[in-house]
């Protein structure tokens, strides 16, 4: 079955209708030309209309973007708070603590979002019923309630990764000469940790956290699909399965744009945190 006949909605479509559809969606043009039609539409502010859902892409995205942003913010907060804290604790907390956290992060890093998702669903659907395992919810509190499990599933691996990087960076700073010098000058342990270790380890941690949060937008696909959240990720997956190229193109472009923007934001933040980088960039 060709894409045009799929759109015409029948096994034996009327040839005239088929031709009309092919012309309207430029399906006879070679792929670059099709792409150009879509791109020029996008640049004039209209990403087009879904061929399958017969709805404007802007409306489809508008209805779902709130859930995705909320989910990313929720998961991002978990990643930053828990990940960075665990990393710092592992770096300064002695060997037992470090070993325990290493085991936890190793398992978390290997547990992708969909594995975490089915484990959470199993746990909360059969044993505990603190959080709903399906749907997006309505109103802010209810949505947070619904998004808790997706956010947990989404953040696990990234949280472990951020914690690992934090641990490595903090340990590297702890071993740095200027930290030894600060200790020899008799500064209190906490002052050394705050003013020299954490302050200097911050730029790489911010960079990695930023890339991680930027990547979350793409990763929402799995978490939203697993928990039936109506968001951009699940829309992308469903549109891909229906070969609804107009929506897929618009969404992947949006996700890549967000990824690039967040990365730029992180670069700017890093230049503020580390004056050496600002200078290197200026020369």
């Amino acid at each position: 079955m060709t894409r045009a006949s799929l759109l015409a909605g029948g096994h034996q479509p009327d040839p005239a209708a088929l031709a009309e559809i092919r012309a309207r969606y430029h399906l006879d043009d070679p792929f670059p030309v099709q792409y150009w039609h879509w791109l020029s539409g996008l640049l004039s502010g209209d990403p087009g209309t879904s061929m399958v859902l017969k709805e404007p892409v802007t409306a489809l995205i508008g209805a779902r973007i709130g859930n995705t942003v909320l989910l990313v913010a929720y998961a991002g907060l978990l990643i930053l708070l828990l990940g960075v804290t665990a990393g710092v604790v592992a770096a300064v907390g002695g060997r037992r603590v470090d070993q325990a956290l290493t085991v936890i992060t190793t398992v978390l890093m290997a547990a992708p979002a969909f594995v975490a998702a089915i484990l959470l669903i199993w746990l909360f659907a059969t044993t505990l019923s603190w959080f709903p395992v399906y749907g997006s919810g309505t109103g802010f509190t209810d949505r947070i309630h619904h998004l808790t499990l997706p956010a947990l599933a989404l953040s696990g691996g990234y949280l472990a990764y951020v914690s690992r990087i934090t641990r490595t960076e903090v340990r590297a700073e702890l071993a740095a000469d200027h930290v030894a010098a600060a200790r020899v000058r008799g500064l209190p342990r906490w002052t050394v940790l705050r003013r020299h270790v954490l302050r200097n380890a911050a730029p790489p941690i911010v960079a990695v956290s930023g890339v991680t949060v930027a990547g979350l937008f793409a990763a929402t696909a799995v978490a939203e699909q697993a928990f039936g959240v109506a968001g951009l990720g699940s829309l992308l997956v469903q549109s891909a399965a229906r070969q609804d190229m107009v929506v897929v193109q618009a969404l992947s472009l949006l996700l890549v744009t967000v990824f690039v923007l967040v990365n730029m934001l992180v670069d700017v933040l890093n230049a503020v945190l580390d004056p050496r980088l600002a200078r290197a960039g200026a020369v």
Binding site: Q99, P112, F114, I118, I121, A241, Q243, M245, S252, L255
Partner: protein, 285 residues
């Protein structure tokens, strides 16, 4: 360097040293299982037995059966094949392409390096999963499409690390000494630069294998990879999801555990290699 840096203890905790050989053995075992799956599996993984659906764990069915009465243990064993072959192809393709791009970029420098680096930066902005989903929408689902898309997405990940390393290596005095000796660039690259970068490439490949496995399984889980009735771990997790709510979590849990343990084992081996040869971890995407 300065005389005052305090050396970190070189000895790893005993537990970690003990874990690497076990992980290595497990990796070897899982590869053997994948290769000899048809001889090991007790049942035909696709044999339906609707009367015996959702059978519990027993001596006949070690892990029970799924919603269609297929033996889960046999499906898990057969699933190892695509679940391992996919990441393997991704890593071989992306590793080869990434290393070649990285080393040529670092070696020639100038506008050639700038061109390759910028192209990789653009490619890097496409998260592997989004790229794979988009490509699946274009060319349809299956085994080949996601593997090809992920291979492409992994090239910049590996190439970035390798380029930085190659650049560092290229500026070491021993390379300059060889240049002064009058050796050709080709000789220096092939006989010195590449062999010295090989351990790092190995580490990158081993780490990347775990990530590729997770990404491919994610795509299967989303229904954009292999299609039923194929026995693939990611697909099994997705197929088992409705049964969880009905109280039969075996299919999803068994496949999930297989994915996690395999990734943990490969990552443990990779980290062992990394501490042995040095090098950084690949950034997660």
């Amino acid at each position: 360097m300065s005389a005052m840096s305090i050396p970190m203890p070189l000895r790893k905790p005993a537990a970690k040293r003990g874990a690497a050989p076990v992980a290595g053995l497990f990796c070897a075992l899982i590869v053997l299982v994948a290769i000899f799956a048809p001889w090991i599996a007790p049942y035909d993984p696709d044999a339906l037995d609707p009367l015996n659906a959702h059978a519990p764990l027993s001596a006949r069915h070690l892990l029970g059966t799924d919603d269609l009465g297929r033996d889960l243990f046999s499906r898990l064993i057969h699933g190892a094949r695509t679940s391992l072959a996919g990441p393997l192809i991704v890593i071989l393709a992306a590793g080869t392409a990434g290393a070649i791009l990285a080393i040529t970029a670092a070696w020639f420098g100038g506008w050639f390096d700038a061109l390759i680096s910028r192209t990789l930066d653009v490619l890097f902005a496409f998260p592997g999963l989004v790229l794979a989903i988009t490509v699946a929408a274009l060319f349809g689902s299956g085994f080949v499409t996601p593997v090809a898309a992920l291979s492409l997405a992994f090239v910049p990940v590996i190439a970035r690390v390798m380029r930085a390393a190659a650049l560092r290596e290229r500026n070491l005095p021993y390379i300059e000494a060889l240049r002064v000796q009058g050796f050709s660039g080709w000789h220096i690259c092939v006989r010195h630069l590449v062999p010295n970068l090989a351990p790092l490439l190995m580490v990158q490949a081993a780490i990347g294998f775990g990530y590729a496995m997770i990404d491919l399984a994610s795509i299967s889980f989303l229904g954009l990879g292999l299609q039923p009735p194929a026995a693939d771990w990611g697909l099994m997790i997705a197929n088992g999801q409705p049964s969880i709510l009905a109280g039969f979590p075996q299919q999803s849990i068994a496949a999930a555990v297989a994915v996690v343990i395999t990734v943990v084992a490969f990552t443990a081996v990779a980290e062992r290699l990394a501490t042995r040869f040095g090098g950084d971890h690949a950034p997660v995407r």
